[in-house]
Each structure stands twice: as structure tokens, then as C-alpha cells.
């Protein structure tokens, strides 16, 4: 793919102010049996052109966070408190029509399952046309031509605008979704497990492509995954989520070299290495907590190797007092009693 084609399709942009800022964001699922707090007061900033990774296990609130940023939470989920600022403007205060314009033009999203994100009975090109027509005045022919350009941008033959989703492989469908997410030149693309359903080789190709496009076009990425090893390679900064909270937040390089939170350390020890000496690994004992009844104190304490009754003073704090995310060293935030 040549740089010229890229520039014809999408223009890079230069911007400075903070793109997204989550302030003490709280999202609840309001159920008949009570409130389940899926996201519990998280702070996160995304600067223009930055790749931010959000990692954690299923049920930790990472996808709920993404949906909140996109403002696509559906009942019973609701933003209970906190703010979601997009270039300083609070999204939680926007009306329906304003949000409709905001989505896809300013922030777009790539979901995990490309199969269900595409309409199986419409040709690929027509799905691009629908999306573009919803946001701007454009003729069908122009929209189809743009769709072809966008497909080429992600390495798919432009003639595939005439294909139906089932005629494409899983990797091609996911590329199509990425092309669609880039169509209106958004400033932020949220990717929720975009490669989890794909094979390693295809995953590698797509990540490479996202990174190339991101460097060329300058959009920011919020990349959500359970696969920390992927983020360490790919992201600029990483936030680790556990049971609705961010427990550690720093640059990818720092996280790789000096992970501090016991949960992060446990996650890092959950990936068998492909090279170097092989040792018996332990993973993390136990299972993630039920968010309807999270443990008191530090939510990780039932699984934490550093939480021992013998160490009475520390144990008392670990089991009763919620640790606060604080800066341990420059640009390295950790929520853990061990580092206070």
C-alpha cells in the first residue's frame, strides 16, 4: 500500500489537547436484585495519537468502560457518576442527536466479533454506503468509491465491495470493520478485543496494520484485551483493571520492566515464554470476585500472595481499607497497600 493512497483517503491531523478524560467514572448495572458496580470510579486520559491499552480479565469492567466512552451503554447499565470528557466537553450531558453525530465521526469502535458486526445479507459496499450516508451528504457512487479506497487501505482488493460478509475470511471481515471504523477519520478508535477470535498469524498482520495506519494517520486507539502480552508490544501506555478498578497505570515499557501491583505481576506470570528457560508457573490462584458482592478492603486481597494473616497490621488494612491509585514514581500509578 503506498503512502499516496493513504493520504488521498484520509488526512493525518495534528492536535494537542487531551482527547478523552475519564473522571471518577462509575457505571452500575441496576438489576432487580440490586446494583452491580461494573466500573468503580476510574480515571483515565487518552492523548491524541496515543495507543492506550486497557487489560483485565472477563468481568473486570473493561468493555463496560469502552461502551461508556462510546455512550452506547444500554439499560440496565448506566453512568451513575463521574464525567467523560471529549476535548473538554462532557459526553454524559449530550442529547441523542448530538451523540449520533459524535459517534463514528469523533470516536468509532471495532468489536470482537466481526461476524455479528456486519450485516450478513448486505454487500460490504452497501454497508459502507449506509454508514457514510448516516453522517454526511454523499452520493452512492462516491461512497462506494470511498469504500473501495478504504478496503485497499487495509489490504483488501477494492472489488470486494461487492462481496457478502460470508465470502470473506475472519481476518478479512475484521479488516473490513477496521476500514469502516476509519472511514470518517475519527480521532479515537476503540478496539474491544479486535483480534481475539483470530489466529496468531492473522492477529499479527492486523496489529501491524493498525500500528502502521495509526502512525500514518495519527488517530488515538483505546485497545481493550485480556492479553497483556499483546499490549506490552503494541501500546504506549497501559491500564490494568481488576474488579471495576484501575489497579496500575503506566507506560508499556515501565510495566514490562517494573510491574508493581501483585495482580499485574500475576498476569505477567500467566504467559508461558516462547524463549528462554522454562519454569513451572503458578498463574493467579482463585477466581475474580463477584461484583455484586466484592470483597471488603482491597478487592484483590483474597487472591494476593502478599496478603497474610501473620502480618497483622498490613492484613487489617488490606482486608478493610480500599487502596487508592497513587503515583509511586513519575507516570507510574499503583493502587496497593504494599506501596504506601
Amino acid at each position: 500500500m503506498s503512502g499516496m493512497v493513504l493520504r488521498e483517503v484520509l488526512r493525518p491531523r495534528a492536535t494537542t489537547s487531551t482527547l478523552i478524560e475519564l473522571e471518577r467514572l462509575v457505571v452500575d448495572y441496576v438489576l432487580p436484585s440490586g446494583r452491580v458496580r461494573a466500573v468503580d470510579g476510574i480515571d483515565l486520559r487518552i492523548e491524541p495519537g496515543e495507543i492506550v491499552g486497557l487489560a483485565g480479565e472477563s468481568g473486570c469492567g473493561k468493555s463496560t468502560t469502552a461502551q461508556a466512552v462510546m455512550q452506547i451503554l444500554r439499560s440496565p447499565a448506566q453512568v451513575t457518576s463521574g464525567r467523560i470528557l471529549f476535548r473538554g466537553e462532557d459526553l454524559t450531558g449530550l442529547g441523542k442527536e448530538e451523540l449520533r453525530k459524535f459517534r463514528w465521526r469523533n470516536v468509532s469502535m471495532v468489536f470482537q466479533s466481526a461476524m455479528s458486526a456486519l450485516n450478513p445479507v448486505l454487500r460490504i459496499g452497501d454497508q459502507f454506503v449506509d454508514m457514510m450516508k448516516a453522517h454526511e451528504r454523499v452520493s452512492k457512487n462516491d461512497a462506494l468509491a470511498r469504500a473501495g479506497d478504504l478496503l485497499e487501505l487495509v489490504g483488501i482488493d477494492r472489488r470486494r465491495v461487492r462481496a457478502y460478509p460470508h465470502e470473506l475470511s475472519g481476518g478479512m471481515r475484521q479488516r473490513t470493520i477496521i476500514a469502516m471504523a476509519l472511514a470518517l477519520e475519527p480521532e479515537l478508535v476503540i478496539m474491544d478485543e479486535p483480534t481475539t477470535a483470530l489466529d496468531v498469524v492473522v492477529q499479527r498482520e492486523i496489529l501491524q496494520q493498525i500500528q502502521d495506519l495509526q502512525r500514518e494517520l495519527g488517530f488515538a486507539v483505546l485497545f481493550i484485551t485480556h492479553d497483556l502480552s499483546l499490549l506490552l508490544e503494541f501500546a504506549d501506555r497501559i491500564a490494568i483493571m481488576y474488579a471495576g478498578e484501575i489497579v496500575e497505570r503506566t507506560t508499556a515499557a515501565t510495566l514490562f520492566g517494573n510491574p508493581l501491583h501483585p495482580y499485574t505481576v500475576g498476569l505477567m506470570r500467566s504467559f508461558p515464554p516462547l524463549t528462554g528457560p522454562m519454569e513451572r508457573m503458578t498463574g493467579i490462584p482463585g477466581t475474580p470476585p463477584d461484583l455484586a458482592a466484592p470483597p471488603a478492603g482491597c478487592r484483590f486481597h483474597p487472591r494476593c500472595p502478599h496478603c497474610r494473616v501473620e502480618d497483622a497490621a498490613l492484613y487489617a488494612r488490606q482486608t478493610t481499607e480500599r487502596p487508592v491509585l497513587r503515583e509511586i514514581e513519575p507516570a507510574h500509578h499503583v493502587a496497593c497497600h504494599l506501596f504506601e
Binding site: E57, S58, G155, S169, G170, G171, D199, V200, V201, V202, Q203, R204, E205, L207, Q208, Q211, H226, D227, L228, S229, L230, L232, E233, F234, F256, G266, L267, R269, S270, F271, P272, P273, L274, T275, M278, R280, M281, T282, G283, I284, P285, T287, P288
Partner: protein, 334 residues
């Protein structure tokens, strides 16, 4: 080394239309040994799950034999014979949510195989259920036995599925992507359980996966499949550290390796798919993506050739058969 299961020339063709056939597995041969974990790795569509399913007698092969205890299991038709084979060769599936009955307790899932196969006398069933739960790390057993699947986490469900497979005291366990649907922090626990069971029970494991880092962690032997064929086999460390086949090299280089960054040096590889081959022509099936391809590759299908001790590959360049070496030399002279 003794043999638990001997697979020879296993071939499975599925019809796609009246005239076309998908070669999901072509001439697949390997041996599973007691107390050994053999990893079968490859991408989706490479045929690895088809092989596991044939071994579990969920598919009949088009050709080839699966010899267990001296008999070809693919020819077993009698009820007793099939029951015996099925109890001795057990399968664990990828989805621990779909493989357990949501309206039955853990106890029910473990008691059923014990009764059907008459493993222990009736009055010992309860104690055996608890033993099984203990051995897969679901302790205390009395707490887990009365639970329903929805009360368990994914990892716990997969442990129940493993306990159920162990109930009939099998010699061979086929595990098809047993950890890929589990959270990363839970996966190592299941892999460690496989290692423990392999040693304690002298089981022969076939670990089917696309995750080669986890395969390295548990497996003694490794089989790499591409488009229905085994393209490389050998001891795990040899295959991963000194891969013969260019496809194995591609797989190894695609695995995330924290700390090196995305732009690490690796062999250039054309994009493509490891999809199952529809009516494959003569020649190497990897030829279009291969950076090493030479003229002969698109004309003659490579055989598995042992180029290093116990390590074999299907590649005319890195593991040429004597006849190919002869032919390529003739070409060079011209």
C-alpha cells in the same frame, strides 16, 4: 517407548460440492505415548480439530488407521468394542459452558460415566466422585459436588469436564483447545493440571491448540499442521528453537513477545490463509506464502523427511528427500 495410540495415514475428505473435496486431513501419522503430552498446533482450518475428532470417533476417516491396544479403532463397529474404545480415549472440549448440562449438578456429571461403564461398585460411587474432584483441584469436594454449572467459573467448569473424562480411567486424553476460552490467569492452572495428570496417571495427552507458547509449556512432542498435513514434527524444544519448516518459523515469529516490539526482524512472509485445501494440486501447500520456494516445490508434494534426529519436516529446501536433492542438483548444473 510404549505406544498408547498409533495413528497412520489418517485422511479425511469432506465434500464441499458434488465434485470438490476439502482435504481436512491428508496422510497424518503420529504416535501418542503414555506419560507424554503431544501438542498438535496449527491455525483454524488446518485440520487439527478434525484429527482429534476422528481419534474420538466423532468422524469416520476417509482412509488410514488408528491402532489402540492392537486393534484398528476405525473399523470397530460392535457396541462393546466402541464403548471400550470411547472409554479409553476421552475428549475434553474447548467450551466448558456448552459441554456441561446446565440443569444437572457436578455430582451427576461424574456419577453417570462411573455407572454406565461400571467403573466402581455402586456404594463406592460417591467416594470416587470426591476423589475425582480432589484430583482436579476442586476442593473441598463436598462443596463442589452439589453445585450446578452456572455456579462455577470457566476454569472450574473445565476442571469438571476433565474430572468427567478421567472418571472412566482412560489411557488417552484428547484436549481440543481446553484453555482458549478461559481467562489468562486461570489458564496456567489447567495446563499445570494436565502436567500433573500426565505424571500421576501415565496418560497420553493430545493437546490441540493454536497457542504455541502454551504448547511449549506442557508438551514433550510437537506436531505442526498446515492445510491438512503435518508439516513438521519432533521434540518441542527442537521444533520451536530450530524449526525446519518455514511455516513453523512463521508461527513462532507471530507470537507476541513482550519487550521486543512489533517490528522485530523476522522472515518476510506473504499474507495468506492456512485454510483447509480444496482439491489441492500436486506440490507443497505452503508454496504461495513461502520465502524459500524453489521450482520443484510447486511440482512435487514434499514428504515428511527426518532431517535431524527425531525431527522431520515436509520441505524440499530445509528437509529434502534424497531424490529431490538429486533433482535440484541436476537443475543447478544446467
Amino acid at each position: 517407548m510404549s505406544t498408547a495410540l498409533d495413528v497412520h495415514g489418517l485422511t479425511k475428505h469432506f465434500p464441499v460440492t458434488r465434485r470438490h473435496r476439502v482435504h481436512a486431513a491428508d496422510d497424518v501419522s503420529f504416535t501418542l505415548h503414555p506419560g507424554t503430552i503431544t501438542a498438535l498446533v496449527g491455525e483454524s482450518g488446518s485440520g487439527k480439530s478434525t484429527v482429534a475428532r476422528i481419534l474420538a470417533k466423532l468422524h469416520d476417516p476417509t482412509d488410514g488407521t488408528v491402532v489402540f491396544e492392537g486393534k484398528d479403532a476405525t473399523r470397530a463397529r460392535g457396541r462393546r468394542e466402541v464403548l471400550r474404545y470411547r472409554s479409553q480415549v476421552q475428549m475434553i472440549f474447548q467450551d466448558p459452558f456448552g459441554s456441561l448440562n446446565p440443569v444437572k449438578t457436578v455430582r451427576h456429571h461424574l456419577e453417570r460415566p462411573l455407572r454406565i461403564h461400571g467403573i466402581v461398585p455402586r456404594r463406592e460411587v460417591r467416594a470416587r466422585v470426591h476423589e475425582l474432584l480432589d484430583s482436579v483441584g476442586l476442593v473441598p469436594a463436598e462443596k463442589f459436588a452439589p453445585k450446578y454449572p452456572h455456579e462455577l467459573s470457566g476454569g472450574q467448569r473445565q476442571r469438571v469436564a476433565i474430572a468427567r473424562a478421567l472418571a472412566v480411567e482412560p489411557k488417552v486424553l484428547l484436549a481440543d483447545e481446553p484453555v482458549s476460552m478461559l481467562d489468562v490467569s486461570i489458564r496456567i492452572g489447567i495446563l499445570n493440571l494436565m502436567l500433573k495428570l500426565k505424571e500421576e496417571r501415565d496418560l497420553a495427552f493430545l493437546y490441540v491448540t493454536h497457542d504455541i507458547a502454551s504448547a511449549r509449556y506442557v508438551a514433550d512432542e510437537m506436531l505442526v499442521m498446515y492445510a491438512g498435513q503435518i508439516v513438521e514434527q519432533g521434540p518441542t524444544d527442537a521444533v520451536l528453537h530450530e524449526p525446519l519448516h518455514p511455516y513453523t518459523q512463521l508461527l513462532v515469529s507471530a507470537v507476541p513477545d513482550p519487550g521486543t516490539g512489533l517490528h522485530k526482524s523476522r522472515i518476510p512472509m506473504r499474507q495468506g490463509l492456512a485454510a483447509a485445501a480444496v482439491d489441492p494440486p500436486e506440490g507443497c501447500r505452503f508454496v504461495e506464502r513461502c520465502p524459500l520456494a524453489i521450482d520443484v516445490c510447486s511440482r512435487i508434494t514434499p514428504e515428511l523427511v527426518e532431517a535431524r534426529p527425531a525431527q522431520a519436516a515436509r520441505c524440499h529446501v530445509t528437509a529434502p528427500a534424497p531424490s529431490i536433492r538429486e533433482e535440484t542438483r541436476v537443475h543447478h548444473l544446467h
